[in-house]
Point group: C2
Chain length 437, copies 2
């Protein structure tokens, strides 16, 4: 473990320095490497046969900015992935009703007026899709990302895992009040020995594990080694798979008292889903979502060296299919005139979690939110609900405004809460603009 930490420190020095720099200043102030000069097409990342050595992106460097600007929509080209099959049906038709967003009124963090384009630029956007009343009103991609290329969703994956778990709970297959060990006896000596499924889903477990990309000693780096997403040094002797990692993690504090964001809780849920159904995460995503929403493209899931699928950060999908998911969720589970996700599943997610418990561990950047069944719930007037992921991945659903926004990014800072206030203002401004039309 010490070896691993020291290695992470070396590998990630640049990334960490950059993240700290980004954290110290508001996100929309000039970055050391601004979006224009880090466009992966202009940089010629991975271009040429072969690409010159300094243009090669390797798995060990994807978190070193600006490599993510190429890697986040080419992840499968760097390691093992599992197909999430779209099914044999024709893709659902999308109405296109492009709308001008010039009237949009948006302010940066200092109160200066900025345009929709400015916001996208400042937050290193790879793709932005806006659906209003089911029609595509705005769609733009950057960074050389083609419409059929899946983008890494990072922790948006968690909300997919939570969605699947909520379905299985409503079907009575999983008891949210039961101990995790009812389904996963392997965890009997771990932090989750006396945690319930619901506590794990809501991330109110007490676990000796920290999720801080700015701290090279954080548990997240051992997680990344186990996941095969950050190659471990030859001397590394720690866990090489997700299950091996989970069984070693110990309890710290009490379960059920306060929210603390941690990827390993989701991996426990994802493991549990696969155990109770006997189906892999990719198979569940295909059977229960991708084949039901009229998906246009296959998606995929990253796998560790033993084939364990990463249910917390491993899912990759195209912008256009994420729009189909968002629209299905906005319509309380209906797609193509069919109820493809039960209404009570979405109602359960939208009711949210405990706002007091959410505050317990200090989430100043997302004031008023709760986290429930792996979803971010703002408890706002419009009843919005959200998926979020590292480096600026977003699904924002606003039922009152009949609005779905998907935003995929390759922001230099991992922590999406750094641009949270700006992003929320942008989502609200889009809603206001569309309501006025």
């Amino acid at each position: 473990m010490h070896h691993s930490s020291r290695h992470s420190l070396r590998v990630l020095t640049s990334a960490v320095v950059f993240m700290l720099a980004a954290a110290a200043s508001p996100a929309q102030t000039p970055q050391p490497l601004p979006p224009e000069s880090t466009d992966p097409v202009k940089l010629d990342l991975m271009r040429g046969f072969p690409p010159p050595p300094d243009k090669v992106v390797k798995l060990s460097t994807i978190l070193k900015f600006p490599n993510g600007r190429w890697a986040f929509h080419h992840l499968r080209e760097l390691g093992p992935t599992v197909q999430v099959w779209r099914g044999d049906d024709a893709p659902s038709l999308r109405r296109e009703m492009p709308k001008h967003m010039d009237a949009l009124r948006l302010e940066d963090d200092k109160g200066a007026p900025i345009s929709l384009a400015d916001w996208q630029r400042a937050t290193y956007t790879d793709g932005l899709l806006v659906l209003h009343k089911g029609a595509v009103v705005y769609q733009k991609t950057y960074s050389g990302m083609a419409a059929h290329e899946p983008h890494s969703l990072w922790s948006m994956s968690k909300s997919f895992t939570g969605l699947l778990a909520t379905m299985l709970i409503k079907e009575g297959v999983i008891d949210p009040g039961a101990l995790v060990t009812k389904y996963l006896p392997e965890l009997r000596d771990s932090a989750w020995a006396d945690a319930t499924v619901q506590q794990t889903l809501d991330m109110t477990t007490g676990v000796a594990y920290s999720e801080n990309f700015r701290d090279p000693n954080s548990g997240i780096f051992q997680y990344l080694h186990a996941a095969g997403l950050l190659p471990a040094p030859p001397t590394y002797a720690g866990p090489r798979t997700i299950p091996e990692l989970l069984v070693t993690i110990k309890k710290q504090g009490e379960h059920g008292t306060g929210f603390k964001y941690k990827t390993v809780d989701t991996e426990v849920v994802g493991w549990l889903l696969q155990r109770v159904t006997g189906k892999s995460y990719a198979a569940l995503l295909s059977e229960r979502l991708w084949t039901r929403i009229g998906a246009q493209d296959d998606a995929y899931v990253w796998a560790d060296t033993h084939g364990t699928q990463l249910t917390s950060i491993g899912f990759n999908a195209t912008l256009r299919d994420l729009g189909r998911v968002g629209e299905t969720l906005r319509l309380s589970g209906r797609s193509g005139g069919r109820q493809v996700i039960p209404e009570n599943v979405i109602a359960e997610i939208r009711k949210g979690g405990d706002i007091e418990k959410f505050k317990a561990n200090g989430q100043a950047m997302r004031s008023g939110y709760s986290y429930h069944n792996q979803w971010w719930i703002p408890h706002d007037r419009d009843g919005t609900f959200e998926m979020k992921g590292l480096n600026g991945q977003h699904m924002h659903i606003n039922p009152a405004a009949e609005l779905v926004i998907i935003k995929l990014s390759s922001h230099p800072a991992g922590d999406t809460s750094l641009t949270h206030n700006l992003d929320r203002r942008a989502f609200a401004a889009i809603a206001t603009t569309l309501r006025a039309q």
Copy 2:
């Protein structure tokens, strides 16, 4: 290189022993591990969350039988791959006209009558698709392979590379009589320094490189290390990418005198294609084939650690889409009423190569054949032409019988020439049966 060879010896001992055993006896006699007992579903390979350690298939063990029975239709789950996009059009419709093949008259290598099922069983079939006059008359999958799962094509990839090269030659983009170094100056000190494109396409180059899976000192193992398909030991200091490997290979003998089968010739052609077009192999396959034949599924290509796509053995595609390719080729390039591949491209391939040069290096198992533009040409009465790949991959096109046969397999022996006579009799028996109906 010595390190590499010794490592290969250790890793592949079982595989080599098995291949030798298979080589020593006719393929349809009982194998040490027969098809039934090596069904990956029955064996529970990679089943469970997590799979038990003895059921885990890792990249380092895919060539160790029976792991290929799972791995050959799950290759993307073990390493880097690049999407070959199917396009946005609806898949071409397939007529289904199932026919009974009970009347089929087929003999094993000892002259005993066997059924179509016996042949499939004896040759460890994962999927068999027969198209007659454009309709699916027979379709069967095994080994738990789903219709939407791409299967490794191994050296069938070479024929796809040859098809793309022939298109570019007919377009005047590549001059077959030019030296390879006209396009790839990097090869000026290699075996290909004074070889022409056509010699490389026909594998009549004189290259110090051997392709013998039964010899652990064969160049194929260094190729597999460079390709990232056989993990190299930590002490390995050889090439880590395909271009790095190719520039080190030296000339042996004369160019243009005799056929000798070698994967590295194809990699030179594949590199050249990408250099002259500025597009990757996967992009070319998508643009020129997958988006034009009404493909139903994305396909994919394996990549080395620097993103070099393997143009000789890296292509993976579904049984049903390979049927669409075969049907397009049978119809001299027409698909869905459109000429999607020029007729002269297919005529060029079908005219074949020099039968005398083919015999020069002893190809007793494929008597009467030639090899031209990376295709196997039997020069038979029906004008058949074929793609072939390691472990029993086949595309057999019989224009006279209006027949296309795709056979994907996970045979314990790599060398497909071991079952060649039996396979050819089976193809002929299918043609005879369908002609009689």
